[in-house]
Subunit: 358 residues, 2 copies
Amino acid sequence: MASMPTVYDVAAAAGVSTATVSRYFRDPDRVSPSTRTSIAEVVQSLGYVPSGLARGLAERQTGSIGLYSFGDHEADEYVQPSPAPGAGVEEIDERNERVRLFPLFADEVLRGVELECTIGKTPLTVGWQGLDGGGIALDDLARRVDGLILLPHVMSRETLQLLARTRPMVMVSEAAIPGLPVGSVTVDNRAGVGALVRHLIVAHGHRTFEFVGRPTVALDYRERRQGFEDALTEAGISVPEVTRVGDSGRTGTRDAFLHRLRERPLPDAFVCASDQTALGVIEAMQAQGIRVPTDVAVTGFDGIVAGRLCTPSLTTVRQPMETLGRTAVRLLSEQMAGEGARHLTLPVQLAVRRSCGC
Amino acid sequence: MASMPTVYDVAAAAGVSTATVSRYFRDPDRVSPSTRTSIAEVVQSLGYVPSGLARGLAERQTGSIGLYSFGDHEADEYVQPSPAPGAGVEEIDERNERVRLFPLFADEVLRGVELECTIGKTPLTVGWQGLDGGGIALDDLARRVDGLILLPHVMSRETLQLLARTRPMVMVSEAAIPGLPVGSVTVDNRAGVGALVRHLIVAHGHRTFEFVGRPTVALDYRERRQGFEDALTEAGISVPEVTRVGDSGRTGTRDAFLHRLRERPLPDAFVCASDQTALGVIEAMQAQGIRVPTDVAVTGFDGIVAGRLCTPSLTTVRQPMETLGRTAVRLLSEQMAGEGARHLTLPVQLAVRRSCGC
DNA sequence: ATGAAAGCGCTAACAT
DNA sequence: ATGTTAGCGCTTTCAT
C-alpha cells in the first residue's frame, strides 16, 4: 500500500491550508467553489481518505457503537456444511444433515442491532468473546466505541463497573445492576414458561414434568426455572428436581442426558431451559429409540431457527430477539444523548409446534 | 459520563510518567511489580480505559477490519414477527406466518467473517448501505479500518479505485477488476446452474424451461444465466427469453410474475436466478392456484434458510456462504501482510428438495 | 474565504 | 526500570 496521504499532503498540493481541506470535507459550503474543485482534484490524484482515527481523536468520539457478543463456533454443529474443492457439483440431501445451529440468539439480536444502525447511519463494531479465551477482550472493544451493547457474558463485575463509569452501556437479557448506570432489555421469561407449562397441562393432560438445563446464575435460567416451578405449584403439581446438563451446547447436553435416561423413568414432558438444550435432549432420546412426542414431550425456549428445521419441530417460547437488539440500540442512543439508563421487559410468544404432541 | 481520564491523569496520580503507564498496558513485564500495582489502583479508581483512537493514531493502524454490507430490511418480510407489548403470552401458529427472509446471503457471509475474526481476535466494523441512500457511505467505513471486505454493491468505480490505492480490499461475489489490486472470492455459478438443469432434465424429464431473474450486470446473474443457456444448448434444447422480474425482493417478483402468467403457457420448470426470486415465483403461482411442483417445477440459487422453511421446500444450488466469508477474511489478511491480491472460486452443491418434484 | 497554531491522547525512540 | 519528548493526522478557535 502506498503510505497514506494526509491533510498536509493535500493542503500542500492544493496550495491551501489544512484548515481549508478539513472544511472541504466537513462543510463544503464554507469553501469557495474554485478551491473546492482544486482540492477535489488533489484528493483524487493522491487517493486521500481522511483518517477516522485522527478525526475521532480531535472530535473526542469514535462515531461507532459496539456490540460484545460471543463466538460459540468451534463445533461442527455451528458450521455450514461446505463442499470439498475440486470435485464437480455434489448433490446433497439435507435430511441426512444435522440441523445447523445458525442463526442462534446472538445472531438474531445482532440482526436487530444492525437494522437500527442502518437507520441511524452508525457503523457497528462487533467483538466476539471466544469460549476458550479466544476472541477479543471487552476492554479492547470498549475503547473503540462511544457506547456498548452487551450480550449475556461471564464477565467480572469490576470490568463492568470500570467501563460503565465512562461510557454508556446496555445489557441484553441480563438483570439490571443496582447502582450501575447500565440500561437493560430482557424478556418475560417467567410468563413464557408459565404459558408453556399450562399448555402441556391443559392441551395434553400432562402431569409429570422435568426441568432440564444447565444451572447458572444467569437471569434467564433463574427466571425460566422459577416460571416452571410457579406454574406447577399453581396447578397443584409437586416440583421435581432439575435435570442438570453439561454446558457445551447440544453435544454436552446429549451426553449428560443419556446418563439421566438410565436413572429414572420418563416424565410426561421435559421442559428445557433453552432450544439448544431441547435439541440435545431430543437427539439423546432418539438415539435411545425413545419417540418424541409419542413417548415424551419436549419443549424449548428461545425460538431459534433450528427448532423449526428439526424433526419433530420444537414447541417453544419465542423471544422477540430482533426487537431485543433494536431496543438495545434505542436505549443506548438515549443514554448517549444524556438520558438515564432504562430497563425494559419485552413480551414473548408461545410457538406451538410438534414436539409437545400438537 | 464523567469525562474520560487520560494517560496524563493516571501518570500524575500514580507518580510515574506516561511512558510507564503506556508500558503497563502494552507490556506489563517491563514495569516493576510495585509500580504495576500502584498504576492498577489508579486505573481502577479513575476508571481509566486507554483511548483506541489515540492509540491507533500513534500506531498508524486501527486494528479492525471492515465489512461493507447491505441493509435490505425495510419490508415486513425481513422483520421478525414480534408480539404487541402489554398482552399476556400470545399463542402463535407459524404455519400461517409468511416465511421470514432471514438469514439471507449477507447474513451467512457475515457469519463466516465473524468466525475468522473471533479466531484472529480482530474486532469487525460493519457498515450497511441502505437501499434508499440510507446507511453509511463506503468512505465512512473505509477510514475506520485497516482493510475492507465488500459484499456486492452498486458503487462507483472511482470510489473503489480511490480506496483500493491505500488499503487492502477483498470483494465477495464480484468479478476481479483488471488493474486494481483487489482480491475476490466467488462461487462456481455456471457449474451450479448446469447441474441443476441437468437434474431437471435427467431426473424429471423436463424439456421446456424459463430463466427468471432481474437482469443486472452483476457477476452472479450473468454467470447463472450463462450456465442455464449452456446446459440447455448442450442438451439440444433451444434457449428461451429471460423472464424479467422487479427488484424489490419477493413482493416485486410476485407482481411481475403475475403479469408473466397471463401471457404464456407454463414451461416444465422455472429456473430462478436466486432463492428470493424463486420464493416470489412460488408465491405468485400459489396465489393463482397453480401447484408447485405438480404443475410446474421451480428452482432457486443460494441456499438461504427460507428455502427450507417454505412449502414446498426449494430445490436450489447451495453456495458455501459461510466459507465465502471466511475466505474473504483470509485473503484480506494475506493482503494486509503484504501479499498480493488473489482470486478464488469456490464450489457449490445441489440441494435437492421438493420444489423440483423430488 | 482562508490561515496559523494549539490541542486531542497515546506510543516509541532515545536518554538516564 | 523509568522519564522526556516528538510525533501521529485531524479539528477548531482565533486571526486576518
